[in-house]
């Protein structure tokens, strides 16, 4: 065991954060202020999510960390190592094995269960921020349910682009009350937010925590004549052939070749293990067999 207190933060701090989490769960979508601590990582790297995870973890938990859906990117690897070192908890890359999942910008493709907790890293928790710079005013707007301004943003989108061009951090209304920023997840993930797992959101720099209890009603804002659409690249995964997962577009060379792959690496890997093959993966294995023969 290391010389750190369990999960890095001291017990008083964890208690303070747990109180904020409980309050957040009691008022879904409401931004609870909390005394965010300095963490041994820069702001913007998930200081809020890490603090929420630290307050949530128990020694029996299994942690999974993803960044843009991937388990093997810098941010995910460092945060996973951080908790391996400071909490000594088990870690995993498999969604089904994890009890706590910290995420940046994605929701795993696999449906989450009631015994799981999803922790989001949030850069800017205030959905009204870019329209109303004053924090006093935005808080008043939340308390009085004055959300007309949110639609002004969507109106501007349609006026400028002919469609609602907001493709990530798409504003949602929780249980008919609070308008909430779902953190920069693609709008493809918005419908998944009505899930069985508890969802916790931590914004370290902005010092806000908010939360969604299981099966909370989450409605993406839209216009009657421009309804919300959960969009993704119109393609199948080139690695595993999945047609229902969110895809990353990867530029392969200067000749304009590209491939689409699942952004959720665990989902893609488990599908390939089960024998599913995408177009490019099939072509590659055929070529491999040919050279072997």
């Amino acid at each position: 065991m290391s010389d750190y207190n369990f999960a890095y933060l001291d017990e008083q701090t964890k208690r303070m954060i747990r109180r904020a989490i409980l309050k957040g769960l009691a008022i879904p979508g409401y931004q609870v202020p909390f005394a965010s601590r300095e963490m041994p990582m820069p702001y913007g790297w998930g200081t809020g999510g890490v603090q929420v995870s630290a307050a949530t973890l128990t020694p029996e938990d299994t942690l999974k960390v993803i960044d843009q859906g991937a388990d093997d990117t810098t941010n995910a690897v460092s945060i996973r190592k951080f908790f391996e070192k400071t909490a000594g908890v088990a870690t995993t890359e498999e969604t089904a094995q994890a009890s706590v999942i910290q995420t940046r910008h994605r929701i795993p493709e696999e449906d989450l269960r009631e015994d799981q907790i999803l922790v989001y890293q949030v850069p800017i928790p205030e959905p009204l921020r870019f329209l109303e710079p004053s924090e006093i005013e935005t808080r008043k707007m939340h308390s009085l349910e004055e959300y007309g301004l949110m639609h002004v943003k969507l109106y501007e989108d349609i006026a400028k682009h002919g469609a609602i061009a907001t493709s990530y951090a798409y504003p949602v209304k929780i249980e008919g009350r609070y308008v909430m920023d779902p953190s920069p997840i693609p709008k493809f993930d918005n419908p998944k937010m009505e899930m069985a797992a508890i969802q916790l959101f931590g914004a370290g720099r902005e010092q806000r925590i908010y939360a969604l209890p299981p099966y909370c009603q989450v409605v993406s804002l839209d216009f009657e004549d421009y309804p919300f659409e959960a969009s993704k690249a119109d393609h199948a995964c080139d690695m595993c052939g999945a047609t229902n997962s969110y895809l990353d577009e990867v530029i392969m060379d200067d000749a304009g070749n590209r491939m689409f792959v699942c952004s959720d690496t665990d989902y893609c890997a488990s599908r390939r293990k089960a024998g599913h093959l995408g177009a490019q993966a099939a072509a590659a294995s055929a070529a491999l067999k040919e050279t072997a023969a």
């Binding site: 329209l131 002004v152 109106y155 009657e224």
Partner: protein
């Protein structure tokens, strides 16, 4: 006829200095009231007290709600007052940039009040916005331009459109022609006069420009040092001023 707005003993103090003191008047539906006076006479303080931007120290501002009952807007809860100020009330600021969202297109600016009261159909909102831009003489081709690309006069007209789109019954105007050159002022006044008559608006206009009240106002209130020194029909007050200060004010206007 019952008054639309009944102002009773409104006073506002800034510490020991007087903002405005013991102001009383009634405003009837379709009537335009002008408030004139020099800088620092308490005109804007009074207007802000009436519009709910400032808390008056004493007095009542009774407004006739849609159900016909008079309600005191000073003691009414904040959500109710804010609801009033985006439906039945409108406030035209002296500087258009105080009343507009400068980083939102003209159409979005006009549509904001509609969306604030629950409009959720893009096509209808846009149609209404274009209609209102037309009524304030802004071309439909400018609907997606931002106010920063508009001239001062256009910004002021846009602000008026944005305020009138929800069909308010009472409009507060704080120096609506301030900072505009005379020919633009004349067009704006012409437009305002047309809209006020056409929509049957009641309005309270604060200005130091006597020509503005001569054109727009039915009744006039002259303020000095926070007190109302003279009230009456506009022509009566301007053509036959009784109070020494009003006489000074009227005689100070340059006759061209």
């Amino acid at each position: 006829m019952t008054p639309l707005l009944k102002v009773e003993n409104i006073s506002k103090f800034y510490g020991r200095r007087i903002g405005c003191k013991d102001v009383n008047f009634d405003l009837y539906p379709g009537e335009v009231m002008g408030i004139v006076g020099e800088s620092g006479s308490g005109k804007s303080t009074l207007l802000n007290c009436l519009a709910g931007h400032l808390d008056p120290d004493t007095g009542e501002v009774l407004f006739e709600m849609r159900d016909g009952a008079l309600r005191d807007t000073v003691t009414m809860s904040e959500p109710e007052r804010r609801m009033l100020s985006r439906t039945d009330w409108a406030f035209v600021h002296q500087h258009a940039r105080d009343g507009l969202r400068m980083n939102v297109s003209a159409g979005g600016n006009v549509g904001e009040r509609l969306m604030a009261v629950g409009a959720r159909h893009y096509g209808n909102i846009r149609e209404e916005a274009v209609d209102w831009l037309g009524r304030v003489e802004i071309s439909e081709t400018r609907v997606d331009d931002r106010p920063t690309q508009f001239s001062g006069g256009m910004q002021q007209r846009l602000q008026i459109a944005r305020n009138l789109v929800t069909g308010p019954r009472l409009v507060f105007m704080d120096e609506p022609t301030g900072g505009l050159d005379v020919s633009v002022q004349a067009r704006l006044l012409d437009l305002l006069r047309g809209l006020v008559r056409e929509m049957g608006l009641s309005a309270i206009i604060v200005t130091h420009d006597l020509a503005v009240v001569r054109l727009l106002a039915d009744r006039l209130m002259v303020m000095k040092d926070g007190y109302v020194v003279e009230t009456g029909l506009t022509d009566q007050v301007l053509d036959d001023p009784q109070h020494a200060y009003t006489q000074l004010l009227v005689s100070s206007v340059l006759q061209v």
